[in-house]
């Protein structure tokens, strides 16, 4: 699973390279464009994901200690937190769309090339990240069902560890997305 995580790091890494190049070339425009983003929602989402990383990590301890109901609680909490994250993101995005800000829009083009790049990267990177959250929710749900029917237990939980690793990866990516988009205003 670590090897797969390396591929994901490089996959997002390509977009981080694009971000750094365009940020370097358009520092002022990026700064201005970032002011359109809501730092509070971004912070809240960061907190949500960090907590969800803790809960999924704890769920492994729970399985190891044969605390099945606690494990179910923790995994469910992780999934719910993920869904809340997605709901926040939905509101953020629809807010932007409502203001005419989306890839290829005229409003965006009017704002300037730096802004076009910033929001292009914003939608691309948070969109790709959200896609990975959805996959993560599916994986975690499968893990939850397996804990519930005891396929995953104290003697065999490597799949849960792998699922957890995937989830932490999603968190890691957000840990970097957050300052680069929300904290440069």
């Amino acid at each position: 699973m670590w090897l797969f995580i390396f591929t994901e790091l490089l996959f997002f890494g390509g977009l981080f390279i694009v971000y750094s190049v365009y940020r370097f070339k358009n520092p002022v425009a990026f700064h201005l464009a970032a002011e359109e983003l809501n730092t509070s929602i971004g912070t809240m989402n960061t907190v949500i994901l960090l907590i969800s990383s803790m809960t999924v990590a704890m769920s492994i301890t729970a399985v190891q200690l044969r605390q099945k109901s606690r494990a179910i609680f923790l995994l469910s909490a992780t999934i719910i937190l993920a869904i809340i994250f997605m709901i926040n993101k939905y509101f953020e995005w629809s807010g932007k769309f409502g203001h005419g800000i989306y890839p290829g829009s005229e409003k965006l083009a009017e704002l300037g090339t730096g802004e076009v790049l910033f929001f292009g990267l914003y939608f691309a990177m948070t969109g790709l990240h959200a896609f990975h959250i959805i996959i993560g929710v599916i994986i975690l749900t499968i893990m939850l069902l397996k804990v519930m029917n005891s396929t995953l237990n104290a003697g065999y939980y490597v799949q849960l560890e792998n699922g957890g690793l995937y989830w932490h990866l999603v968190d890691l990516i957000w840990i970097f997305l957050f300052p680069l988009f929300y904290l440069i205003a």
């Binding site: 090897l3 591929t7 977009l15 390279i17 070339k25 730096g114």
Partner: protein
Amino acid sequence: MVKKIQGNDPSYLEYKGRFKGIFGWIFSTDHKRIGLLYLYSIGTFFIVGAILGLLMKFELIAPGKTIMDAKTYNGIFTLHGITMIFLIVIPGIPAILGNFFLPIMIGAKDVAFPRLNLLSWWVYIFGAAVAISSQFLGDGPPDTGWTFYAPYSFKTTTNMLPAVLGAFILGFSSILTGLNFIVTIHRMRAPGMNWLRMPLFPWTLYGTAWIQLLATPIVGITLLMIVAERTLHIGFFDPTLGGDPVLYQHLFWIYSHPAVYIMILPAMGIISEILPTFARKPIFGYKAIVISTMLIAFIGYFVWGHHMFTAGMSGTAQFAFSFLTFLVAIPSAIKVFNWLATLYKGSIQLKTPFFWAASFLFVFLIGGLSGLVLGALAINVHVHDTTFVVAHFHFIVFGGVGFAFMAAIHYWFPKMFGHMYDEGWADTGWVVFFTGFLFLYFPMFILGIKGMPRRYFDYVEEFHGLNIVSSLGAFLMIFGLALVIINLIRSARHGKPASMNPWGGVTLEWQIPSPPPLENFEEIPVITKEPYDFSEVKPS
């Protein structure tokens, strides 16, 4: 020594498992059958790619329109590149021969994740289908070249999306194979086979697997960005929206240069296996070759800008990339030296695999040296985007990977199919092919220096003579190729039965039956010796 099987276990070719007939093959998780699945699919695509190349040479035999117009020519060279690069040479040796022989050479029964291995093949077929569909859908075949450069790749009205998405899907196949091989090599070596007792072909597969794993995702995201550019007008590479087309080139080559090391490292590994066997001498400088392999893989990540010297990069970048390009040549040169030193005072057996390996050395040297010519900034300005580049990469990729593959397929043919190929036809085919190859590609060096551009369907009259030579060379080469391929196809069923060790090789595959049983070894061997000890083994 491996205990000989008494002949009771069926070979992997005859083994009957859960599925019958063709399903026993396309749903098989046996690494040997998967290797053959790749062989047949890649082989078919190779014939398509070769025919495309032949069509290009028909067009180029005379100036002006010969058999097709410019737009058609653009589509043909694009498909030729996509087919050869993404469908053949990148998966190529690892998928076919790596799958077949990696587990055997390290003393394992299969790879670490056999079902993932089968998935890799299915993803490959799916990606190939999507890419090929670009030829037949409504808006016409892609005409950007296999490199999909922005901005044309998002402005052209041709079927870019299936081509780009096909390449994206194929990337997953490559990543999964790389992942599988890394785990296999780390975890499944036979007892006693520590890292420095592992033969050199597995070593190169290891270096290659890391490149497959780490470089492919970057082209993956880059291709998705092209999709976003075409569908959403996102602006990453569109100058009117603030984007930089040169950034596309950076991202594309950050993968595609390491990709050429995916192509050549396993080929080098094959040569490192074949030369000792046919010189009956241990490889010269095993450790140096291991280190060179890792160095090529590592330095290869940082030379990509040499594809972009005329694109408008800063002087600093141009200088750095030129320097690093010269640097990466050094470990390759070390390998060439070690290969030659292996042959020195060896007891040379003049057999087909040796002929292909020896001619590999010749064409690889020419291809590599021409790479240095291209890596020199001042010269590059003159020959960039000319047929000089085309000659360079055909010498080093077709000559390098292709010849090594031919050497390997003849070397391992008796093991894989249990029959011997016809040596007369094989050697004749080699002579014809090699001759045609040289006549086809060498003139392109001269034409390039004289100024003939690449990817053009037309040229000025002064280039006509050499183009005739080149095109005739193509016809000769294809004829030689046909001799080789037909010989192999026929001999797979009708050749003389092969013994366990027809060449006197010392690696583990020569200690199991030809063809091998399903699980390779009756008992997993315990390794006690260095890998290239010829003192006790003779051809049998």
